[in-house]
């Protein structure tokens, strides 16, 4: 009889013991969670893409509820999700700034000189480890298409050895920005027009030497801007989009065409994106 009773008692006893211990532990170690986190999580897209900079939608939801992130933190979801989140949080939706990625380099095969001929694995992250890549310019686009590979929305094309973003398809998911080893892809407001498409911080003379369309630091744009939207540091002009009034004077005046008009570019490459 003990042959049957002993195992039952031992197993049942241990199970009961652990069950009681666990239930006590769950009382001791209880963590208060804000029910709003669940609600916010419910209206987020749930793709866990990480574009917001938090680990998954749950991380983003927690950040929003704790006030560490704005209600517009989800860049993928756009204005609709932002409105829903604001609704849950009980605040005004505010304006959602739609953004778009832009590759800040125009030094394609014709315009930028090469330092050597790269024949390795077609991946910018690998090419950049080899003396900074094949271009003489150490800041420019390497053209291996790592951003094209990571883009899930068919918004990037490689044209003449340069990555170009299609404004219409881009969701500002940040994937290409993170993937680019040269850090030349940036998110800018969707409706902005003038963009300084150069990242070179070299002196003007050096830039002239290796690229026909780089920023040479002449500051003509800075002087001609009617609203002082330009800042100039490290031999490179930058546009402050809060001030820019889309007058496009800088695009006209730039001697090397380093400042580009975004709206024209998308038309120029529309054919490429069509197929």
């Amino acid at each position: 009889m003990t042959n049957i009773i002993n195992p039952v008692v031992v197993l049942g006893g241990l199970g009961l013991l652990f069950g009681v211990l666990l239930s006590i532990a769950s009382k001791i170690f209880v963590v208060a969670t804000n029910p709003k986190v669940e609600e916010v999580l419910g209206v987020l897209p749930g793709a866990n893409c990480g574009a917001c900079g938090y680990p998954g939608c749950a991380g983003c939801a927690a950040a929003i509820v704790e006030g560490r992130a704005p209600t517009t933190a989800c860049t993928i979801g756009g204005a609709k999700v932002a409105a829903n989140v604001a609704n849950v949080m009980g605040v005004n939706a505010g304006t959602f700034d739609k953004k778009v990625a832009v590759v800040k380099c125009q030094g394609d095969c014709d315009k930028a000189k090469d330092k050597y001929i790269y024949q390795g694995i077609a991946d910018c992250r690998i090419q950049s480890t080899l003396a900074g890549g094949q271009k003489e310019c150490t800041y420019g686009c390497l053209g291996c298409g790592t951003c094209f590979d990571v883009c899930k929305f068919n918004a990037i094309r490689m044209i003449d050895g340069i990555a170009v973003v299609n404004k219409e398809n881009c969701t500002a998911c940040n994937a290409c920005v993170l993937a680019c080893p040269k850090n030349i892809i940036e998110l800018i407001p969707y409706d902005s027009t003038a963009v300084v498409k150069c990242m070179s911080q070299d002196k003007g003379k050096d830039v002239r030497g290796y690229c026909s369309t780089g920023c040479i630091g002449c500051q003509i744009c800075v002087k001609n801007c009617p609203v002082d939207a330009f800042t100039f540091e490290n031999n490179l002009a930058r546009i402050n989009y809060d001030k820019c009034i889309d007058c496009l004077i800088c695009v006209e005046k730039c001697p090397t065409n380093a400042i580009d008009n975004m709206s024209i570019v998308s038309e120029k490459f529309a054919k490429e994106f069509a197929n």
Binding site: N6, P7, V10, L11, L14, G15, F18, G19, L21, L22, A25, S26, I28, F29, V30, V31, P55, G59, I121, A122, D123, R125, I126
Partner: protein, 190 residues
């Protein structure tokens, strides 16, 4: 056996992944990125060590005295499952950062066969309590080592130019096999 030789034996010579082929599922499943591999490694080290000590105590005090050795597997599983649950609760309260770092891997450990394998093998080898703890730490460090090695390889292989038929798991399995052969070179060390 001295504690040092137990340690060397479990980490290198009898590495649980490469020599005993236990814990292959998490070895392949969570070795995509270095970050997750490290998280899993830490979690396994923690749980294996605790579980081995507790199962040893239960084996000696309850199962052996009552002659219920045949209940070993089911009791050990019970212990491991409860322990993982307990660790998860405690960690959530005491160190939310570590908890979120380990994330989903913590509950996954319940089904990691290394944890059960180490506990049972320790009993079979008739080690004492100190030796059991040492062997458990060594085993989980060996698993940690295997996981980190394969994860660092896979991060490189992700961007390498691999024949299309071999992309993903096939090349990982080949790499794991080669690594296993390499670990066979440690045989005879202890």
């Amino acid at each position: 056996m001295s504690l040092f030789s137990i340690m060397i034996s479990t980490i290198l010579v009898n590495n649980y992944v490469f020599a005993r082929f236990l814990g292959i599922c998490p070895f392949l499943g969570v070795s995509n990125k270095m970050e997750t591999a490290t998280g899993m490694g830490i979690a396994v080290t923690f749980v294996t060590t605790l579980a081995s000590v507790i199962t040893y105590t239960i084996q000696k005090t309850i199962l052996d005295t009552l002659g219920l050795q045949y209940l070993q597997t089911i009791v050990f599983i019970l212990v491991i499952a409860s322990l993982v649950q307990f660790v998860e609760l405690a960690l959530k309260k005491m160190s939310p950062t570590l908890y979120s770092a380990m994330g989903v891997y913590l509950p996954l450990i319940t089904t990691n066969c290394i944890v059960l394998g180490v506990a049972i093998l320790n009993i079979q080898q008739e080690l004492n309590l100190i030796q059991t703890a040492t062997s458990a730490i060594g085993a989980s460090l060996g698993f940690f080592l295997a996981l980190v090695l394969i994860a660092s390889l896979r991060e490189k292989m992700d961007i390498a130019d691999i024949p299309e038929a071999l992309v993903g798991f096939p090349i990982t399995l080949i790499a794991a096999g080669l690594m296993s052969i390499a670990f066979a070179g440690f045989a005879g060390l202890v």
